[in-house]
Amino acid sequence: MSSRHHPWLPLLALAAVACADTTAPLPPAEEVLLVVNSTEASLSVVPVESPNTGITIPLGGTTPTPVVVAARNGIALVPMGLDNSVAVVDLKAGTVLRTIQLTPGSGATGVAIVSDTFAYVANPNLNTVTRVNYRTGDTASVDVGVYPQGIAFTRGKVFVLNGNLVNFVPDGPSWISVVDPVTNQLASGIDSIALPGPGNAGFADVGSDGLLYVISTGDFAGGQGRLSIVDPVGRTEVANFGGIGTGPGALAADGGERLFISSFSEGLMEFNTVTRTLVRGEGDGIDIPGNSAVEVDSKGRIYAIGTGPCQGGQPGTAHVLRANLSEQDTITLGECAIFAAVTNIP
């Protein structure tokens, strides 16, 4: 074996290393549960496979009142409520990248991300939604209905849930405004979908059947909650169900036929999207104290969020449920955990 030293060998090695860098597989995306802790003004980021390694990201702000979150490709957007702004969070770095100011008085509540550049934020106090370029901070608003407080994005259109609240009380049934994100105008054709019911529509999710499931909470009294099923293509409500009691809120589909509905007073309820029946309705919910939200991860684990007392720094809790709704684990969250989303961090 020759011991002769070849001067080009280091260059070769360097080239090999460089090639190895460019061809190495990307690290696996990490699936995380995001939870907005409202009175604490923070975002809990909990890896679903290692819940003990979660972090909490303070959202900053002046008088923030965050209540929802949306995420995509490692970026989360949190409308900051009374701060009239939206926080853009880098989930990988665990920091707020920037805070984008919206129109004064916006009351920013409700968000949906439509691309790697644009998101829509609802301004309930201004009866508008704002298309936000969350890369640059540019904003442009469009008029919608009364008290828009929730947004869903599907089939290329933005569906704005108009809560129709006046002084925080329903002033009649809610409806959906449909916005085309390309033109940032109300969509051509049918741009409004009626939601017969008690009003105060605020939460929606897309089921595995491609339909949009919308909760109208009503006035938090007298078992007014209703579930609407909306065809996002035909832009019409196709069904409407009661029996979900008082104070229903966020909902989540499991990728199959199950749809879970959280409720402060009823606990965790379940709807079957195939049979269109309530599996667990009013009076039969899983007992989750202060159940404010629900999410399902890629392995079918159900996260039922309990707010906690919302006082004194006492934490909220994510109850991790198996498919049979038995409790598998609990995760400690921040004060007043109020909304959840599951996303992948690349």
Binding site: T39, P104, G312
Partner: protein, 677 residues
């Protein structure tokens, strides 16, 4: 032989010296703070002296032998001291007198851990008590704007846990329980004292974290003056007085219209943050003491910087009449009327227009009896008291006919025992309170023990307190964004202990006083307003731990220089699951003052460090710490005219006390006072 000659010489010398008068010089100082007391009267037989600015007095010809010096000063308990005067000698002494926490005619409740400021010192620190007391002895005065309430926080207290007394009458708003220091003017104060800790056994309701006792000026000459400052602030005032009484008028136009930075960039003008306040304070007394206070305020409710409310206004009218009389048998009665109208015809988007008026009347009476006591070398007095109070409110913001009654009985004693050159003081107190809706009495107790010698004072205290929720916390009308809590429980300090030492040290030509205090206690069911689910604000009960300490140094240097510095630690945390610092409570506050007062000049550079406060319950969203520096220069021209120039917030820190409510930053003030003795 030599010894005999020496004895003879000495024997001859003594009678000779006995005929030579001695010289006696001294200083009168506050026993708790060690600060000099100017204007005190020192009596030696038929002669008397009035102490100078630095508390000094001098008798140039004093007969040898045992003499008795007596001293008295407004706002202090009279004191006396026996001295052996050597013939022909020149002696220097220090007379320490204790501040009065509360003056009830001639009856004094004396506590052992009060610190105090004279009205003169107070005026130098700021024109209102809000400005003068912020930073003093660890007090944080929280406010949202120049025209809004300014509330004292002592050791991380809740807004209604500090009792403010004016001439023994509570100044806390009978509806909210809070005392607004922004409407009280330093020039109307003779002396102010602070007693920290659970003082409910002596003072009753609201005295959970401390008591600020104000002795108003009840006599004196006439005065006219004014003050102008940045952002359009103006004040004018006048007072008329004689030896029996005083009436003072004031008008203040509060700051408005300053620039501030907006979140996200840019700046805009703060609007509707000011207002106008008219006030009258009168006190007259010979055998019966009568106090009257009235105010008329019209101020802006500016809202937060992210949701300004340029059209929101508040109109407040208050009138108070108090009468007290007696010596051994004490009686006092008071009546207070207040009316508040708050309105906003053009609120920001999402908020609701409102126009709400609330009026109320409160009546209170108390009777007390004091008796001298003595046993086994202990002397002192005990005071028995009983008091009753009724508040009634009506209007748009409260439920119909909201009313609240309270009854309390208590006993407080002060005992003193001299052992050689040291003195023991023991002050026990007990009290029982009943109020509307409460079946069993709520007890409070406290005892202070103090040992004092020439230069050292040691104090150990322990006590409990209880106070009912304020009327505004339980009987307001539910509205948008706020919800009452019918299950609100009274706040209770089950036990709190406090220990301290005060040491005077001579450092070359300088006199130094060092004070160290430590405290530990718990508050059950502290009432705090917090946002709950969906940001509805409601009062709630929280169990809180309160511990910390205070350290202070006062240094009197030659050449009219003095330096004082203090540091305060208040660890106020939620008990139980979270150990986070309670929101808006700084852990650390520091103060410093460098003062030079040659002849008719007075220069003062003050520094106040306000530590980080968190706006959430879990230690996030901090309001940054701030160094607030002010510089004041005062010049006395003759005995009548005083000019003062002041720069507040010299470093333009613009610290924020409450999130969303900026302060204006660097501000300049000029004031002039003309006195007619």
């Amino acid at each position: 032989m030599k010894v005999g000659l020496l004895l003879m010489a000495l024997a001859g010398a003594f009678p000779l010296a006995a005929q030579q008068p001695a010289r006696l010089a001294g200083t009168v100082v506050d026993s708790s703070s060690g600060r000099p007391v100017p204007g005190a009267e020192v009596f030696l037989g038929t002669e008397s002296r009035v102490t100078a600015r630095a508390g000094q007095f001098f008798f140039g010809s004093v007969e040898s032998g045992t003499i008795r010096l007596r001293v008295r000063a407004l706002g202090y308990r009279a004191g006396e001291r026996n001295l052996e005067i050597l013939p022909g000698s020149e002696q220097r002494i220090e007379l320490r007198i204790a501040g009065l926490a509360v003056e009830l005619d001639s009856v004094v409740i004396r506590t052992t851990a009060a610190t105090s400021l004279s009205g003169e010192e107070l005026e130098r620190r700021g024109s209102t008590l809000a400005a003068a007391l912020d930073g003093w002895e660890g007090i944080v005065v929280n406010r949202t704007g120049a025209g809004d309430e300014a509330i004292a926080q002592v050791r991380g207290s809740a807004a209604d846990e500090v009792l403010v007394l004016i001439d023994g009458f509570p100044a806390n708003n009978s509806f909210t329980g809070r005392a607004d220091l922004g409407r009280l003017y330093s020039r109307d104060v003779e002396r102010i004292s602070l007693e920290r800790g659970a003082q409910g056994a002596r003072y009753g309701s609201r005295a959970v974290a401390g008591v600020i006792s104000i002795q108003s000026r009840r006599s004196g000459g006439s005065l006219i003056g004014g003050r102008v400052g940045s952002f359009g602030s103006m004040e004018s005032h006048a007072a008329l007085g004689n030896q029996n009484g005083r009436i003072a008028f004031s008008m203040a136009e509060l700051a408005d219209g300053f620039e501030y930075a907006m979140p996200g960039g840019g700046s805009t003008s703060r609007e509707n943050a000011g207002g106008t306040v008219y006030a009258v304070n009168a006190r007259y007394g010979r055998k019966i003491d009568v106090a009257f206070r009235g105010s008329l305020a019209n101020r802006g409710l500016s809202g937060t910087i992210v949701n300004p409310t340029p059209a929101a206004r508040s109109e407040e009218r208050t009138a108070f009449l108090g009468i007290s009389t007696g010596d051994r048998l004490l009686a006092r009665a008071s009546m207070e009327w207040l009316s508040t109208r708050a309105r906003d015809s053009a609120p920001p988007p999402g908020f609701t227009a409102y126009d709400a008026t609330t009026t109320g009347v409160s009546g209170a009476g108390s009777i007390g009896f004091r008796q001298r006591m003595g046993f086994g070398g202990w002397n002192g007095e005990v005071r028995w008291t009983g008091d009753v109070r009724h508040d009634r409110f009506d209007g748009d913001a409260v439920v119909d006919g909201a009313h609240f009654s309270r009854v309390g009985v208590g006993a407080a004693a002060t005992l003193e025992h001299a052992v050689g050159s040291s003195t023991w003081n023991v002050s026990p107190a007990m009290r029982l309170d009943w109020w509307s809706g409460r079946e069993s009495p709520a007890p409070s107790a406290r005892v202070d023990v103090q040992w004092t010698n020439a230069r050292t004072s040691l104090t150990l205290s322990g006590g409990s307190s209880v106070t009912a929720p304020a009327l505004a916390d339980v009987l307001f009308r539910e509205s948008v964004g706020v919800a009452p809590n019918p299950d609100l429980r009274p706040e209770r300090v089950r036990f709190e202990v406090e220990g301290g030492i005060r040491q005077q040290v001579r450092l070359g030509p300088a006199n130094a006083t060092v004070r160290l205090t430590g405290f530990w206690g718990t508050v059950d069911d502290m009432i705090l307003w917090t946002p709950v689910l969906r940001f509805t604000w409601t009062p709630g009960n929280f169990d809180v731990s309160r511990r910390g300490g205070e350290a202070a140094l006062d240094l009197q240097l030659p050449a009219h220089l003095s330096i004082s510095a203090g540091t305060n630690l208040a660890v106020v945390t939620y008990r139980g699951v979270s150990n986070a610092q309670v929101r808006y409570r700084p852990r650390y506050t520091h103060t410093g003052e460098l003062r030079w007062a040659p002849a008719s000049w007075d220069f003062a550079l003050r520094w106040h460090y306000l530590g980080t406060r968190f706006t959430t319950n879990v230690g996030t969203n901090p309001l940054p710490a701030a160094d607030v520096v002010s510089l004041a220069v005062e010049r006395r021209l003759g005995r009548q005219l005083t000019l003062q120039a002041e720069v507040q917030d010299l470093l333009d820190e613009r610290t924020t006390y409450i999130a969303g409510y900026p302060t204006p930053g660097r501000a300049y003030h000029l004031s002039v006072n003309l006195e007619f003795p």
